[in-house]
């Protein structure tokens, strides 16, 4: 499925913002991203399997906070590094 990445993560994808990845769940999708772009998952999910603060993941424009959420190949995933701070 199509995944749009925020600019802080494109160092992992050679500058590419739109990438393809697969998975039956959000967790599988992020692991597939990590297989393709090593290290990228840990920037979004910490060692306790929690989505990091300020990272927002939208599935078909709906905010999803559960890594166990089911995905469909037709879904579009938008990952956002929310703005905050100065």
């Amino acid at each position: 499925m199509k995944v749009q990445l925020p600019t802080p993560l494109v160092d992992y994808t050679n500058g590419v913002r739109y990438v393809a990845a697969s998975g039956r769940t959000l967790d599988e999708l992020l692991r597939d991203l990590d297989r393709q772009y090593p290290g990228i998952r840990f920037r979004m999910v910490d060692e306790q399997e929690k989505i990091r603060p300020h990272i927002r993941i939208f599935v078909n424009a709906v905010l999803e906070r559960r890594l166990s959420a089911a995905l469909d190949p037709a879904h579009e995933v938008l990952i956002v590094a929310a703005l905050s701070g100065g």
Binding site: P8, E47, S84
Partner: protein, 389 residues
């Protein structure tokens, strides 16, 4: 004189800031300085500590890009290229048998230290919240030092984690005894000074004699707030610390041979006090050290005392102190220097360096007698480390 004096080669200074890493380089005389590139390395990332292992040349950077969590970058070509650690420091997962349910997440990697000379591929990392990690492959992968991270008394040491020091609970001042690769010493803010004689498998507090005037029992076994602990690189059992409650020297013979701290800061001028963050040791003379006092009165402004920045030096292990401020602003300069933002190089004529909270890098090439501003207008400086090559 302790240790082997380096030849007058080039010098490299790594400056970690809130917005990236600046690398300064100079020739043997340290008269001409240049900065790598037109923009800093890791522009926009918080660099808590940038260090080099002078034995191998490997550089490591503890970085955190605002929203993306902490990591470690490494360079094996003198800073030309950088690669992220394959497995950055991370606590054991919650609920596994080994982790006994701690389940913490690394907020930022705060301190990096190269291992013993006999272990050229070993590094240690201190993190926030309190944690210790080791790499035995030159910074590529990192493992939890479970003897520390899962210690049964760890939560007692920490006190209330919600009441951590302003920048978070910090495990810092990772020292590897130059005479014993298995002997480690570190500082916890707050928590106190702890040491291990088995490469981190077991730990014991080392805070006797050190005051903790913010605790119900000021002579408690732990709960202290060491700001910076430095083990001398060439003299056995010479350790100094700048603490929240003064400047101290370790005395292994004190307290009936159990070892404890002697407050050498009591010899500082009363109007200056002995509060600050960094302490820097002369690389060859175990009796010479420098501190950068700050205002630790009332609400703890954490600025230069009276707006008049100065380094204080002792040449007799803290018995007497001399003010060294020539070249610095004489008044209305309200910066301070963080715990890993002051250091010495290893040249025969020892150079001193510090970075300020307002983004200035200062240096002295005659052991503090005269100071020069090397750079202005950098972001808030978190760390300064200098290496003579």
């Amino acid at each position: 004189m302790a240790g082997k004096v380096r030849k007058s080669g080039s010098t490299i200074v790594l400056v970690g800031t809130r917005k990236g890493l600046f690398v300064l380089r100079a020739d043997g005389e340290r008269g001409n300085w240049r900065v790598d590139g037109k923009v800093p390395h890791f522009l926009g990332q918080i660099v808590n500590h940038a260090v080099m292992n002078p034995r191998t040349g490997t550089m490591l950077v503890a970085a955190r890009a605002g929203h993306l969590g902490p990591t470690v970058f490494r360079s094996v070509d003198g800073g030309k290229t950088w690669k992220e650690a394959a497995t950055p420091p991370a606590f054991p997962k919650r609920g596994t048998a080994e982790s006994a349910g701690y389940g913490w997440s690394v907020g930022h990697v705060f301190w990096l230290t190269a291992g013993h000379g006999s272990e050229p591929n070993t590094w240690y990392a201190g993190v926030s919240p309190h944690g210790l990690f080791r790499s035995d492959d030159d910074g590529v992968t990192w493992q939890s030092v479970d003897g520390f991270n899962l210690h049964p008394d760890r939560l007692k040491w920490l006190g209330n984690a919600d009441e951590a020091v302003p920048d978070g609970a910090l495990t810092h001042s990772l020292n590897v005894d130059p005479f014993d690769a298995n002997h480690l010493m570190l500082g916890m803010s707050s928590g106190g000074v702890f040491e291990s004689y088995d490469r981190g498998a077991t730990w014991a507090p080392l805070n006797r004699g050190c005051v903790a005037d913010f605790l119900p029992d000021p002579n408690a076994e732990w709960g202290h707030d060491p700001h910076c602990v430095r083990m001398h690189p060439a003299a056995k059992d010479v350790v100094y610390q700048q603490n929240h409650c003064g400047i101290y020297k370790l005395d292994r013979a004190a307290f009936g041979g159990k070892g404890g701290w002697d407050r050498i800061g009591k010899n500082m001028p009363k109007e200056i006090g002995d509060i600050g963050f960094p302490v820097v040791l002369h690389p060859y003379d175990p009796k010479t050290l420098w501190v950068f006092p700050m205002d630790g009165t009332s609400v703890w402004p954490r600025v230069s005392v009276a707006g008049k920045p100065a380094v204080y030096r002792s040449r007799d292990a803290g018995a007497t102190w001399q003010r060294q401020a020539k070249g610095m602003p004489a008044a209305q300069a309200w910066f301070t220097v963080k715990r890993q933002a002051m250091c010495a190089d290893q040249q025969k004529k020892v150079g001193l360096y510090f970075g300020t909270t307002c983004g200035e890098v200062w240096a002295s090439f005659n052991e503090g007698a005269q100071w020069h501003c090397l750079m202005l207008h950098l972001p808030h400086i978190y760390s300064v480390e200098a290496y003579s090559l």
